[in-house]
Symmetry: C3
Subunit: 152 residues, 3 copies
């Protein structure tokens, strides 16, 4: 039985992580600041090109910021692609693309296409993000470099 | 054993619902009108900003409409994102983004980025859509409001 | 037990295929030529509109080509949508959309929206691509035709 359970557990882990990652986009577009932050560990890190957020309070502050609220008010979609997830015990890696699409003067434009690298951990409250690193795919080498682990 | 079966069943339910949602885009781009409609319950509802379709016949009519056929003839992609699925017994909720990308004068443009909210039910023929509600993410508040349930 | 194992195996197969398909985008954007090619069988086929690649060497050559390297250097995202997977024994079909998004003069544009049709086989090394066929959704009828199998 233990082999079956291990296989089942692995599928559940992968599904839980894929769900967590997929939920970021809808939650951040809804402005659900604390729900977004709770995807991370209490002291989790969200490292984007222009900003490093340390801990949930700084993630809440980003969602509640006038900048982010303006995106919501104008119309925006944080569109996250299907992740490639690799679980190793209580740790996991995932990579995926994301698009930030915004409504500008009545037209939708792709404001950013981004490489996402997620480091996750299983704790008492299930899987959470330890470190998420995003780099915009505009030619800077560190963006595709985040993707080299996809085949791991 | 029943615990294993319940866990397996839950994964199967989530996978079946994700598959159903993913299949909408390819089917509607192929113009497969009855296959699209069969994703819904016979009297299922598809509520988009400018149109509410009640029952499969009205969904078939939308796919076969000159408007939709023109999108296909010109080139279009109904690109659906990975859903966040929550199963509760024989009912389920899912949220995801969708993009409608069209070819216009030889260039691809994002015509719409949309919040999708799916209410599904399990019946004799498996999971089907009871109500799908779409609102375009152009700043109207009801669009991000559809996403507030993503963390449920 | 055999019924449970068959159900578990089916979920694992679908997850493995979805993972393989999702990994194409990050790997090709990273320029990981041999990892991309290894998604295919040794003599697998990658058939895109303007080019048919036969076997892994030709896929490696595409990734290493000046053309592809220019996309990476300029900034690009091969964004793959969630696939609709149908497993039948040791063979599988999958369909999905893909977007090629490129950075051009500091702006992201959708260069291509494409219908993807994947024929996969299970071998000694697990699931691999036998034939992947891509057709751009610009109005040519063979592109939506690839999607007719999505409801299979």
């Amino acid at each position: 039985m233990s082999d079956f359970e291990a296989r089942l557990q692995r599928l559940e882990d992968e599904a839980a992580i894929a769900r967590l990652i997929a939920s970021y986009g809808p939650l951040v577009d809804a402005g659900s600041a604390s729900e977004v932050a709770d995807l991370w560990e209490p002291d989790g890190v969200y490292d984007v090109d222009e900003l490093v957020m340390n801990g949930r309070d700084e993630i809440v502050a980003m969602v509640q910021s006038p900048n982010h609220q303006r995106w919501i008010a104008g119309g925006c979609a944080h569109f996250i692609g299907p992740p490639v997830v690799t679980v190793t015990g209580d740790e996991a890696l995932a990579v995926c693309h994301s698009l930030m699409i915004v409504n500008r003067d009545g037209q939708f434009v792709v404001r950013r296409a981004t490489a996402n690298h997620w480091r996750l951990r299983r704790g008492e409250d299930g899987w959470q993000v330890a470190v998420r690193t995003n780099r915009v795919l505009d030619g800077r080498p560190e963006a595709p470099a985040l993707f080299s682990e996809a085949g791991g």
